[in-house]
Amino acid sequence: MRRVLLVARRDYLAVVRTKAFIIGLVAFPILFGGGSLGVALMQNRTAPKSRTVAILDHTRVAAPEVIAAAQQRLPDNQDAPPGLQATPHLEFEAITPDDANPDQQRLDLSDRVRRGDLVAFVEIGSETLHPNANAKVSAGYYSNTPGADGNSRVVGDAVSNGVRRARLKELGVGEDRFSDVLRPVPLQNMSLIARDPQTGAIHTPSKRGAAESFVIPFVLVLLLAMIVMICASPMLSTVAEDKLQRVFELLLGATTPFELIAGKVVAAIGVSLTTSVFYISGGLLLLQGLALFGLAPLSLLPWFLLYLVAEVTMLCAMGAALGAACGSPQDAQQLVMFLLFPVVVPLFVLQPIMQQPNGPFATAMSLFPLFTPIVMMLRQSLPGGVPAWQPWAGLTGVLIVTPLFTWAAARIFRVAILMQGQRPTLPELLKMAVRG
């Protein structure tokens, strides 16, 4: 154990003392936060003060109502934190339809959009006010970037409300009642109700915002995956580089291969915990500064750290074994993706898991030991959580598989580390793991 800790101390200090580590640690949140801030600033800056949308209204009554609806429209994203989403400020211009030459009129309006006089134009069909029972009603939205235009949703809301207003007017409803009639009823996300296992009391349901439902789980899983990748991928290249520089034989005269690999893994765990403490502390301070400390998933932190240690142990042991098997620096580059497979695959399936966190696919993925840390972390952090036995079952699998992987990795490491100029094949690696 003494030698393991000595190797770990050397490797840990060799990483955390480097400028690259310290700069990377500080730079990542700055780049990440700065990037988000930059996007928000650019959105605000690129939004002109006033942009005009023309309304080509074949009903001849809807256009004034659309304009009135747009002016009365409450910001639909009023619950969102400021700066996260810019509300376009639009002006509307009613256009009288030219029934004699409608195509020419559309062409003229399109040219105005191309010249930048208009941001877009909307064409409301004459049947829109009184559509047939089975007819599908829509208004045409013409812009330079159809389908990717951030204004279309705002314009669509205004057109819908404007047409409804026109219909209400026809029915004789007074304008003073429009706001009541047209007031939308947004859905409030709520947590499920549960009984406290200790007291037996029924918990009051709590409101779930987008941050709790999506942002926190997403950030938590990304942080876990990022730290694992930061710590695991350099292991492979470092071992390969040290092997090619023939550092290991002198070390193997003083330590066993298992002590050496264990020391390296412990060092990587140390680096991952250092990184986690830095980011978690920073995140908690940020939430406190934003008066959102209640959103901090403190109950998940022990699981986060457990999964982190397990994943780093597993991947770093594999990384050391693969690094030992490398015959050239190019080999190391090629093998990194193979090493990061248990992290990358869960990231690819985040969306289906978030949509059905307790579905059979998500449950199976989270109980497969290689994917447990990332997938189970995600499922645990989503509203509703997971059945209590599942994290423990997943952890049991991880605790069985991790030592097995480490043991096999140490056997591969012992044989492969002194092989120079050749890269063992996969069957040879398996043979090394079995026979030692």
């Binding site: 060799a14 040290d242 520089q245 550092v247 034989e249 002198l250 070390l251 005269g253 002194l418």
Partner: protein, 303 residues
């Protein structure tokens, strides 16, 4: 007690037998030289002694104990393939290796060794700033602090200038004087002859020589004439009773056929040229090495 006891050890890599049924005993307190051509099994044998490789068959006992997958603080190993953490400072690196092997603070010993090898001024420099020779000396220190009872050195003198080689030789002999057992491999027969109490030669995985220089040479008898003549070695060609000539430049070594009388060779030589020196001697280790593993032996093996 024996420092190393190897009993019928065989080690194979796939179809290749690197060491074949080897038995060897290294007495404690001796300097034991391992010689043999490249790829003959020296390094594999050393790695098995250090427990980096495990034998397929046979057993190895080191310092009286069986190897059990562990490392002994009393055993030090300097491999032929040398590499150090280039970003570490000299002192940091030596403290790391010293603690790794000895489990204690070895600062005083490190200071003494750095002084001995004129490296004290480099103690706070990174390894990457040192010359190759200086790095080799640092590696030697890394292998020997704290002081081992058994020191295994694979080609310790390769690449060293004469001054550094002398410093290293002195240090090795000093360790021996303090009771350490030294096993060293070398391609320099001069080193083997002058430094080693016993010599072991391995060829194609098999032991072909083992014993003191005296005992090895006595097996071959006084079948060598060391001669100096006027002019070049051309006058030595086709001398009756001479099986081979080795031209060393100023001196030539003649290998006599069995039963040949050196006096007849001397007479024949005097008839051809002026003889400056003439000595009947036993073959040098170099000559024995060539006889066992040289081109003639290779040809005979393939014939």
């Amino acid at each position: 007690m024996h420092a190393v006891e190897i009993q019928n050890v065989t080690k194979t890599f796939g179809d290749f037998t690197a060491v074949d049924d080897l038995s060897l005993t290294v007495p404690e307190g001796s300097v034991y030289g391992f010689i043999g051509p490249n790829g003959s099994g020296k390094t594999t044998t050393m790695r098995m002694i250090v427990n980096i490789f495990y034998p397929d068959r046979g057993s190895i006992r080191v310092l009286g104990g069986a190897l059990a997958g562990t490392r002994s603080e009393h055993l030090a190993y300097l491999p032929e393939e040398r590499g150090l953490y280039r970003k570490m400072k000299v002192r940091e690196l030596l403290e790391f290796y010293g603690e790794l092997r000895g489990g204690r603070n070895v600062t005083a010993e490190i200071n003494a060794w750095l002084k001995k090898f004129d490296l004290a001024r480099c103690a706070d420099q990174k390894l990457e700033t040192l010359s190759k020779g200086m790095s080799q000396k640092v590696q030697f220190i890394a292998a020997v602090v704290p002081e081992p009872r058994l020191l295994i050195l694979d080609e310790p003198f390769s690449g060293l200038d004469p001054v550094s080689a002398d410093q290293l030789r002195e240090s090795i002999l000093d360790l021996r004087r303090r009771g350490a057992t030294i096993i060293l491999s070398t391609h320099d027969m001069h080193v083997a002859e002058h430094m080693c109490d016993s010599i072991f030669m391995i060829f194609r995985g098999k032991k072909v020589l083992d014993g003191t220089l005296e005992s090895i040479q006595s097996r071959y008898g006084a079948d060598t004439i060391r001669v100096g003549v006027n002019g070049n070695a051309a006058s030595l060609q086709a001398l009756p009773g001479v099986e081979g000539i080795r031209d060393l430049g100023q001196v030539q070594e003649l290998r006599m056929a069995a039963g040949c009388d050196p006096q007849q060779i001397l007479q024949a030589l005097v008839a051809r040229t002026r003889v400056l020196s003439f000595a009947v001697t036993r073959p040098s280790l170099h000559e024995i090495f060539i006889r066992i593993a040289g081109p003639a032996a290779e040809e005979a093996a393939h014939a």
